[in-house]
Point group: C2
Chain length 229, copies 2
Amino acid sequence: MMEKIAPSAVVLLSGGQDSTTCLYWAKKRFDRLYALTFDYGQRHRIELDAAHTIARMAGVAEHRILRMSELEELGGSALLSDAPIQETSGRGNLPNTFVPGRNLLFLTLAAAWAYQLECHDLVGGMCQTDYSGYPDCRRATIDALEEAIRLGMEWEIRIHTPLMFLTKAQSVKLAAEVGAMDALAYSHTCYEGRFPPCGICPACRLRAKGFEEAGVEDPLLIRAREMAI
Amino acid sequence: MMEKIAPSAVVLLSGGQDSTTCLYWAKKRFDRLYALTFDYGQRHRIELDAAHTIARMAGVAEHRILRMSELEELGGSALLSDAPIQETSGRGNLPNTFVPGRNLLFLTLAAAWAYQLECHDLVGGMCQTDYSGYPDCRRATIDALEEAIRLGMEWEIRIHTPLMFLTKAQSVKLAAEVGAMDALAYSHTCYEGRFPPCGICPACRLRAKGFEEAGVEDPLLIRAREMAI
């Protein structure tokens, strides 16, 4: 029996591998979960269906999908447009899939919801080890934001990032430990928005590498294979 | 001739007295201004018209009105509902007009736009002296957020808050100095969303007090009187 951290938490749930793992990590540590998904005009809207399915599988108390139009209106990222995805064509060698400020906005909105729910804990799948060049995934950024939220809302907020210092292989092992493997069969990762996944985009390759190094077969690929039969 | 700080800046423009003063403050210090207004379901939509008029009067390079539906969806403030406005019915004696995280979101989105524009300066009318109980108006909050944005976007951002330590009377004097008085006749302040202003809500009273202490007649009231004739 895991010791509970607090009665409830708000979990950022994109429908991807990392946030799904975090949702199940949180399920062991909080009695009541609130899942928050952002619909921000991303190319891979298939993620939203994945988030919906996974939230239901995990039995969350409430799942909100928040429509966020601002990032689209302000423009600029390949994830929100038809531009080809490249790993280093963004500013200062950032990948051109970088949406500036995305995680800052997501976490601040999650905190605003937590404030309404009288809840103090947020959980997010940010990871600095394989952070793919995204500076808003680093713990130093999260720490600074935590402080800004505490001061700006006068509300104690703890942002848990259980994957922050794990490799992708360790993250797969954690998923197995917390019972997330069934749900991972419904998670979505492919930047091209495909099921079965394209297998060649940076996101697919990173996911495959993690499962390979962990010596575990990806339940998403098992599901794809079974559906093809 | 005022020394310029940088070629361009993004100014948060609500259409109220403080942001109008800041826009003209910025006009003296930057060659090119980008004004950003948020339409977040506030009760006083008359502010949006005020912002539009004032941005045009100031000759900004571009004025964007961003629709932000998230705060409405997450709910909870008297400014977004039909609840009567009270000064201390919110959490921990915060006024019930407090929208948690509002300024954090506004500034982060302004920074995301600045990033696209390759601009490093933001200007906002936050004021700690008369901060009406809003913790997201304090300089300590702004400093923490500045750090979170720098780290999260890998982009140098300076958030200028020229009114931060001014009294409302000093702010009126600054408005006169930077040539904002004509535009202030079109600014909007009343929480009740009225023109002529109601004169009795906390926002109207705070505005009246500032002009009175500065010994200046409010150009908005002059305009209201002239229109009534």
